[in-house]
C-alpha cells in the first residue's frame, strides 16, 4: 500500500504520517532526507527524532539516491520528505539534476517492492504565488511532477489541514 501525505508548513503532516505508521505492521523504518546545513536544520531533525522516540522506528539516512536504498526489513516505511529529496538532488553538485523526478520516482517504485506499506510525506509549496523564476521555478516544477506522479500511483492521497486529514483518494481505513 502506497500513501501520499501532503501539507504546508507546520500543517501537522509529519504527526499524521507517523500516526498512520503506528496503525501499520512492524517493523518500522524511517527514511530521513534532510541534509543538515545549520542550527535550524539540526533543531528540526531533533524535533522530528523526538516525535519518533519510542515509536520503534529504525532510521536510515537518505538525503539522495533513493533508488539505491536497500531496506533491511519489510513492514512499514515512512519517507520524509519528497521536498527535501528533490532539493538535494537538484542542487547538490553530484545530484541527479535534470533527472531528479525520474530518479525519485524510480526510487519510490523500488521501495514499494521492498515493504508492505510505504508512506510518503511531501510538501504543499504551490499556493504562495505564481511568478517564480530560475531555480525556484525549476524546483516547483520538479516537485510538482514528483507529487503528481506519486499521487497517481498511490492507493491513498491525504492532505493535512491544521492537523486534520482530508482524503483526496482512498481512505484511512483501507
Amino acid at each position: 500500500m502506497l500513501t501520499l501525505v501532503i501539507g504546508g508548513a507546520a500543517s501537522g503532516k509529519s504527526a499524521y504520517a507517523e500516526w498512520l505508521c503506528l496503525q501499520s505492521p512492524l517493523p518500522r523504518t524511517y527514511l530521513a532526507t534532510m541534509q543538515i546545513w545549520d542550527a535550524e536544520c539540526a533543531a528540526r531533525v531533533a524535533k522530528h527524532r523526538a516525535m519518533r522516540a519510542e515509536k520503534q522506528f529504525d532510521t536510515i539516512e537518505c538525503p539522495r539516491q533513493l533508488d539505491r536504498v536497500r531496506l533491511p526489513q519489510r513492514g512499514t516505511v515512512l519517507l520524509e520528505d519528497l521536498g527535501n529529496l528533490t532539493a538535494n538532488e537538484l542542487y547538490s553538485p553530484d545530484g541527479a539534476g535534470a533527472h531528479t523526478a525520474e530518479q525519485i520516482l524510480a526510487g519510490i517504485e523500488k521501495l514499494t517492492l521492498q515493504c508492505e506499506n510505504l508512506i510518503l510525506v511531501s510538501n504543499e509549496v504551490f499556493s504562495g504565488g505564481a511568478d517564480y523564476l530560475g531555480d525556484t521555478d525549476r524546483y516547483l516544477r520538479v516537485l510538482a511532477a514528483v507529487n503528481n506522479a506519486a499521487a497517481a500511483r498511490a492507493d491513498a492521497v491525504v492532505r493535512v489541514v491544521c492537523g486534520i486529514p482530508v482524503y483526496y483518494k482512498g481512505s484511512e481505513t483501507q
Binding site: G7, G8, A9, A10, S11, G12, E40, E124, V125, F126, S127, G128, G129, Y132, T136, L140, V161, C162, G163, I164, V166
Partner: protein
C-alpha cells in the same frame, strides 16, 4: 469554538459574521510573538469564532524570521483545530466542514 481557516481573502470573516458571539480574526498574526502557543490557543478557544489565514502553502521563505512566523502560524492553527468543536476551510467564499458540525447561525 468554530475555527475558520483558508487562503487570503477567501471569505473567512464574512462567513464568520453569520454566527455572532465573540470573534477574533486573522490570529495567525499573533503566533510569531507568542511565548506560549498552547496558552494562546487556550485563550483563543474561549471565543465563539476564530479565523486564521493559511500562510504555510507557499515556497519556503529564505528569511529565517519569515520561516519562523509561518511555522508558528501553522502550529497555532493545529492547536486551534484540535480545540475547536467545528473546523471550516474556506475556498472562494465556499465553506467546507473538516471537523464537527456548524453551529446554528
Amino acid at each position: 469554538m468554530l475555527f475558520i481557516t483558508g487562503p487570503l481573502y477567501s471569505g473567512k470573516r464574512t462567513f464568520a459574521q453569520r454566527f455572532g458571539g465573540r470573534q477574533r480574526y486573522d490570529v495567525q498574526a499573533l503566533a510569531v510573538a507568542a511565548a506560549d502557543l498552547e496558552a494562546l490557543a487556550d485563550e483563543l478557544a474561549a471565543c465563539d469564532v476564530v479565523t486564521a489565514t493559511e500562510v504555510g502553502g507557499g515556497v519556503v521563505p529564505a528569511d529565517p524570521a519569515e520561516r519562523a512566523a509561518r511555522e508558528a502560524a501553522g502550529r497555532l492553527a493545529c492547536l486551534l483545530a484540535a480545540r475547536a468543536d467545528c473546523v471550516v476551510q474556506m475556498f472562494c467564499g465556499l465553506p467546507t466542514v473538516l471537523k464537527g458540525e456548524l453551529p446554528e447561525c
